[in-house]
């Protein structure tokens, strides 16, 4: 009898997006629905809503969070810092999803613990490609034997 082993193999990716722009949320939802990979998406209108959700008791944590940087009430950078400072949330992968392409912003998010930096694409076709690429990479880290300390990508 042979027993085969793997590290993690849950078949659905739980995704969260925090973005205050309604159009951006709708487009993102449409893009993710067109992708082959099975996902469950939760949407949040600002950072505070996202953090409240993550801290609920018995919550099913998302595997990957897309974070807009500029949001009212609590912005993406504050969320990123709070998530990385909380040991209960240390398994979460975080993709920054922003219109800023300032090298300083980008470096600051990586140093503060972001895994992926995405420049918001300006059309739907590109958005779909970008989301698909991010999910593919995330999937490899989710199911493969890759070292998550080195999970850093700019897309």
């Amino acid at each position: 009898m042979n027993v085969n082993l793997s590290t993690r193999s849950t078949q659905i990716l739980n995704i969260a997006l925090a973005d205050d722009d309604e159009d951006d949320r709708i487009l993102f939802k449409e893009a993710i629905e067109e992708i082959q990979l099975k996902t469950k998406l939760s949407l949040f209108v600002n950072g505070q809503e996202l953090m409240d959700y993550l801290l609920l008791p018995n919550v099913i944590l998302p595997n990957l969070i897309f974070l807009d940087l500029n949001m009212p009430i609590k912005n993406g950078m504050q969320c990123l810092r709070e998530i990385r400072a909380n040991p209960d949330l240390s398994d979460l992968s975080i993709a920054i999803y922003s219109t800023s392409s300032s090298e300083r912003d980008i470096e600051e998010t990586f140093v503060s613990g972001a895994n992926i930096y995405i420049n918001k694409p300006n059309n739907f076709r590109k958005l779909r490609q970008v989301v698909e690429k991010v999910l593919q990479i995330k999937w490899q880290y989710h199911t493969g034997n890759l070292n998550r300390d080195n999970f850093l990508f700019r897309i």
Binding site: N4, L5, T7, L37, I137, W139, N147, N150
Partner: protein
């Protein structure tokens, strides 16, 4: 005070498996490639108890055949990348020989389950290996390129940038700053 530690995933996995299998009184052989050969038959209760104990360490017993096969392909790729002789072979013939299935079958099964091709996975794996060497050793980029069979530093840097969107220098810079930051906290 902050301590920095270095670890070997393979070594940890094996140690945990040995410890847990011994604790459950199971006789076994570790076959490498994420496979454990059990000498006697396991009762359902024993298997469940083992699964539960291993889950704490993020190790899962794979139930279905296809997932198991995909995991074996990944493990075989890892072994190939570590083996200087095997790396000279073509990946298609290496995997077909090792797994006893046609490469066409293996590659379509792999793409279906992982949403990426075997070739892409290998690139990702190699780049991941390069990242690990940059993070945990003092090797220079030239030495890393040589070790991972890239023809030149330019080739390694090119593939690294194409795959991760970052240059190796930017990557090292981020890790360095993360370290400084955690030291300040």
């Amino acid at each position: 005070m902050t301590l920095f530690v270095k670890y070997d995933f393979n070594f940890i996995c094996k140690a945990v498996l040995k410890e847990q299998l011994d604790a459950h009184g199971i006789s076994y052989v570790l076959n490498g490639m994420g496979e454990v050969e059990i000498k006697d038959k396991l009762s359902t209760g024993q298997k469940e108890a083992l699964a539960l104990a291993l889950r704490k360490y993020g190790i899962e017993i794979i139930a279905d055949q296809k997932t198991a096969l995909v995991q074996r392909i990944k493990n075989a790729i890892d072994e190939m990348l570590k083996d200087d002789q095997a790396r000279l072979q073509k990946i298609s013939s290496y995997l077909a020989d090792k797994m006893n299935y046609s490469y066409t079958y293996l590659s379509s099964l792999f793409s279906e389950a992982t949403y990426t091709s075997i070739e892409n996975f290998i690139i990702l794996r190699k780049v991941d290996h390069a990242k690990e060497l940059m993070a945990n050793t003092n090797l220079t980029l030239t030495e890393i390129a040589y070790k991972l069979d890239y023809s030149s530093v330019a080739h390694l840097s090119g593939q690294f940038k194409k795959t991760t969107g970052l240059t190796p220098t930017a990557f090292q810079n981020i890790l360095e700053k993360r370290k400084e930051k955690s030291l300040r906290l």
